[in-house]
């Protein structure tokens, strides 16, 4: 090829075709491709593979006392559900969980609003989170038992502790990350105080708030089940943790697995149905998260 010397070239003009003239070119996806695009289906396939691996390993091991098969667990699960024992226990747990979760979010919200409106509030939040966030909620349980007695109050207290710091920390960092332009827009409208927080900061920080809520939810579950395991020794009105503990004592190992399975199923539903829906309706729709 010759050296690319700039030569005088004639001008050229194209004749754009009307868009209507060439129509829409589309290539239909194959059935496999379409199925593969459904996230729920891909996850379901993974679940089936995991269940098969469980079943295979348990059969090879052949020790139902240590590691029951998937089918035995399912049978125990179906039995416990049919007798109404498991749903009742699960409901007890969820009630306590929701109460603690809601109270924790409320506390976190109050603390964060104070933290963004005053400098001393920021210091307080930073100090408190660095002090209490590393403290496992379950370590407070003995203290809670003395303060609130055996039962509802103590468990709600430790759940609040486990939810509060995770949510507050995420919400606060979300508020700090809100773009300066959006803040100025809000103030331009003459918004201030709680209206400013509610109308501008919370939606703008929603991606981080949602992360905080998810982490808080997981922490709350862990704390709840752990607390119920401790409680099981002396209290009869336990939830899922108590169900697991009780069945372990009776060496009903498939039922223990069924209890754990319930915890897992509730976790999956909350994460993949509730949080996923909230996410799709908010941060994804708004283009703040892809």
């Amino acid at each position: 090829m010759a050296d690319p010397v700039s030569v005088v070239r004639p001008e050229r003009y194209g004749q754009p075709v009307e868009p209507a003239a060439f129509g829409i070119v589309e290539k239909p996806l194959s059935a496999w491709e379409r199925l593969g695009n459904v996230g729920a289906l891909r996850k379901l396939a993974l679940l089936v593979v995991l269940a098969l691996a469980w079943e295979g390993y348990a059969r090879w091991l052949g020790n139902p006392l240590l590691f029951p098969t998937f089918s035995a667990t399912l049978a125990a699960f179906a039995e416990a559900v049919a007798s109404g024992d498991l749903p009742g226990k699960a409901w007890t747990s969820i009630k306590v969980l929701l109460a603690g979760y809601a109270a924790g979010i409320l506390c976190a919200g109050t603390l964060t609003v104070v933290a963004i409106s005053t400098r001393i509030g920021t210091d307080l939040l930073e100090l408190l989170t660095s002090m209490f966030n590393p403290l496992p909620a379950i370590a407070l349980l003995p203290l809670a038992l003395i303060w609130f007695g055996l039962g509802y109050g103590s468990i709600v207290f430790v759940i609040i502790h486990s939810v509060l710091w995770a949510v507050a920390l995420n919400t606060h960092s979300g508020f700090l990350a809100v773009s300066n332009t959006l803040r100025m827009v809000g103030r331009n409208y003459g918004l201030s105080g709680l209206r400013y927080v509610g109308a501008i900061l919370i939606p703008a920080a929603f991606p981080s708030i949602l992360t905080g809520l998810k982490i808080g939810w997981a922490f709350a579950w862990r704390t709840l089940i752990a607390a119920e395991l401790v409680f099981g020794v002396s209290s009869g009105s336990g939830g899922l943790g108590w169900f697991i503990y009780e069945n372990k004592n009776q060496l009903e190992i498939p039922a223990v697995f069924a209890g754990l399975l319930t915890v897992i199923i509730i976790g999956l539903v909350v994460e993949n149905v509730i949080f996923r829906t909230v996410e799709a309706r908010t941060v994804r729709r708004w283009g703040m998260q892809s």
């Binding site: 773009s179 332009t181 959006l182 100025m184 827009v185 103030r187 331009n188 409208y189 003459g190 918004l191 209206r195 109308a199 501008i200 939606p203 703008a204 929603f206 908010t282 729709r285 708004w286 283009g287 703040m288």
Partner: protein, 254 residues
């Protein structure tokens, strides 16, 4: 006619952005703040917006001293992220009206529709901001500013982040809108052609710290088209005034 009187004097910060700047904007002015980067023109605009207060001197709007941001001075920012991402185009405009207490309910929606129609975005009224192009977002921001009917519209290089073609189009649209409603606008830019095209009066600022260099009248718009020579002469004049002190030290260095 003492519509909007705006006296701005002196800012003496730790970093002095502008030093003893004063000017007056009258109603229906298209007042341009023009200067190289570092002349504090954006800072000036923020001060007028009420986001920062002057260390020396004062800013007055219709006789009252400006102390904090408010909906009587709507701001159009340079950034594309000035729309609330969780609201559609219409909702963004409506929310501005409702939040500031200007209008409520159906009246706000009606007003928002009108403003959106004026910037030719009716087709996209129910879109969320992230589905719009940069130019469209800026148009929504302008519609929002105009729907609020502020005493003065503050524009901080609203077209700077747009490509040249879109920018030119937006400038024409802005002038058309002005023909319709004759709003008062304070416009910050660093582009001389933009200043000359859009402005009716141009304040030239020198950099580090910003000080008034001149306050010029731009050409009437019909003359701009009929007499390109005069337009070029004006641009050249502004250019030489702005760059006068920048060139000299360089010559001395050499």
């Amino acid at each position: 006619m003492r519509g909007v009187t705006l006296q701005y004097k002196t800012r003496d910060h730790l970093v002095t952005a502008t030093y003893r700047v004063d000017f007056q904007v009258f109603r229906s002015d298209r007042f341009i703040l023009l200067g190289p980067s570092g002349c504090g023109k954006s800072t000036l605009l923020k001060a007028v917006g009420g986001y920062m207060s002057p260390v020396e001197g004062e800013i007055r709007l219709k006789g009252g001293i400006v102390t904090k941001p408010g909906p009587d001075r709507m701001m159009v920012f340079q950034e594309f992220d000035q729309l609330l991402p969780w609201k559609t185009v219409t909702e963004n405009v409506v929310f501005a009206l409702v939040a500031s207490g200007r209008l409520a309910g159906a009246a706000a929606v009606e007003k928002a529709r009108e403003a959106i129609a004026k910037v030719n975005l009716t087709k996209f009224a129910d879109n969320l901001p992230h589905t719009l192009s940069g130019g469209m977002k800026q148009r929504v921001a302008i519609a929002r500013g105009m729907a609020m009917e502020p005493d003065i519209l503050l524009m901080d290089e609203p077209f700077a982040a747009l490509d040249a073609l879109t920018r030119r189009k937006m400038q024409d649209e802005l002038l058309q809108l002005w023909d319709d409603t004759r709003f008062t606008v304070l416009f910050v830019t660093h582009s001389i052609p933009e200043a000359v095209r859009i402005g009716s009066r141009i304040l030239l600022l020198s950099p580090h710290p910003g000080q008034v260099k001149a306050e010029l009248n731009s050409l009437p718009r019909d003359r701009m088209e009929s007499d390109p020579g005069a337009l070029q002469a004006l641009e050249k004049k502004i250019h030489s005034m702005l760059f006068a002190d920048i060139v000299e030290p360089e010559v001395q260095h050499g």
